[in-house]
């Protein structure tokens, strides 16, 4: 009996903490802010990888970048774009949600380009070329899915 009660109490606590977790989930603006910050760190990781002194160091930075790139689609929940209420600073175009397949393809292309670098890290010439491809993939998403930078 005690065990059952204890179990029930634990279950309630667990449920409550999940529910609380949900209730303190990010607001749309927090999602945008975290996304912008993440993108900056992402670009920083790629740059650090391209300038790393050793292939090992480059590999570590690259792993961070790949992990982020695979999270890109999940960082764009509906309601966090230009024109959405509760969001003041976003450059995400609504096309992201109008053309989800194209958006995912562009994000996947970024992950693929990063993994291509990983495969040629030992060879400087090949790695430089692969890093340049990553730069193009920034534009792959930004040209289609990012709106103008405007004055605040």
């Amino acid at each position: 009996m005690r065990v059952v009660v204890a179990g029930a109490v634990l279950a309630v606590i667990a449920f409550a903490s999940i529910a609380c977790g949900a209730s303190v989930a990010q607001t749309p603006q927090q999602t945008v802010d975290a996304r912008v910050d993440g993108m900056k760190k992402f670009a920083g990781a790629v740059k650090a990888a391209s300038q790393a002194a050793t292939p090992e160091e480059a590999k570590a930075k690259l792993a961070d970048a790949i992990a982020f790139s695979e999270s890109i689609v999940s960082r764009f929940p509906k309601g966090t774009g230009i024109g959405d209420t509760d969001v003041t600073k976003s450059r995400a175009l609504q096309d992201i949600w109008a053309k989800p397949a194209e958006f995912k393809a562009a994000a996947d292309a970024m992950s693929a380009a990063l993994k291509n670098i990983d495969a040629v890290l030992g060879d400087k010439a090949k790695a430089d070329a692969a890093f340049a491809e990553v730069g193009k993939n920034c534009g792959g998403c930004h040209k289609m899915f990012r709106g103008p930078e405007v004055s605040e």
Binding site: A43, G135, K136, C138, G139, H142, K143, P148, E149, S151
Partner: protein, 303 residues
């Protein structure tokens, strides 16, 4: 005559004089040096390059609307209304096929059309005024090698009173000092001078220099950024105290950006600057891109 009556008459006389002045077209004088002509050998080849450097295609091509290069038709939205770029292919009916060398130089460097009408400064003649006559005519020579495209002018949508072109005479009086080909600064080397010339005729300042309420670039703040640029884009400063971000770019990074659009932070050019790179700067020589970079670096005092 009472003083009040005198003032009224004086105001009417002055007003009438201004109206007459605005109403009578007066063609600006164009000085073409002897021996310089668009028909001279080699001019068209030279012009093909200058058309890139001058960024003509970004406006004179309705790429997204399926138009032909240089046939115009692109809608340019400004705070003063919507303008449509004209056809600059050598079609005699709808393009510039009937234009003389003088007509072309006058339009490019003095802002007057073939009938002596004032052009709106949405056409960056205020920047092209820095161009040499030889370069202007080389551009004409190249444009005249193109196949003529029949593309009638699309009407502009400008609110009164600016829809009255003659008012641009007054605008010019305030903000335009006439054709003034950029002379070399003897205290600087050839690369710097080349860079300055390319930045001028490439009309970088049309977007990167802030404008006053009458749409004129503010000369004292040249290239210091424009909070309200084309299509609402915030255009970054390339010079002055606000150019902190740009000042961190090396000359080589600037040159690379102008070639491929790749930024030092791994992002790439978007929006209007992406068009500039695709239509203009990526077609320039490495030396010219470096010259632009060197000149721009000299503006932030970090040369």
């Amino acid at each position: 005559m009472s003083p009040a009556r005198f003032l009224l008459v004086a105001a009417l006389v002055i007003g009438a004089a201004i109206l007459v002045w605005l109403g009578v077209p007066s063609r600006a004088h164009v000085d073409i040096p002897p021996g310089v002509a668009s028909g001279a050998p080699g001019m068209a080849e030279r012009g093909a390059y200058l058309v890139r450097a001058g960024g003509c295609l970004s406006c004179h091509w309705d790429k997204k609307g399926g138009g032909q290069p240089f046939a115009g038709g692109l809608a340019l939205t400004t705070p003063f209304g919507t303008f449509h770029s004209p056809n600059i292919t050598p079609d005699s009916e709808t393009g510039i096929g009937g234009w003389s060398d003088e007509d072309f130089v006058r339009a490019l460097t003095q802002g007057q059309g073939v009938h002596g009408e004032e052009l709106y400064p949405v056409f960056p003649y205020t920047s092209f005024a820095a161009m040499t006559v030889e370069d202007a005519l080389a551009i004409k020579a190249y444009l005249f090698t193109l196949s003529p495209v029949s593309a009638p002018r699309r009407d502009d949508d400008i609110a009164f009173p600016l829809s009255w072109r003659a008012l641009m005479k007054g605008w010019k009086l305030l903000f335009f000092t006439g054709a003034a080909p950029l002379a070399n600064d003897a205290s600087r080397d050839a690369t710097w001078n080349r860079g300055r010339y390319l930045v001028a005729v490439g009309h970088c300042g049309e977007c990167h220099t802030p404008r006053n309420f009458l749409g004129a670039p503010i000369g004292s703040q040249a290239l210091q950024g424009n909070p309200k640029g084309p299509n609402g884009w915030k255009v970054p400063a390339l010079a002055g105290a606000k150019a902190k971000e740009f000042a961190a770019w090396s000359g080589e990074e600037i040159a690379t950006y102008l070639k491929s659009g790749a930024k030092p932070d791994f992002d790439s050019a978007q929006g209007p600057m992406d068009e500039v790179i695709q239509d203009a700067t990526k077609h320039l020589t490495d030396d010219d891109r470096r010259a632009i970079a060197l000149y721009l670096k000299s503006l932030d005092g970090q040369q």
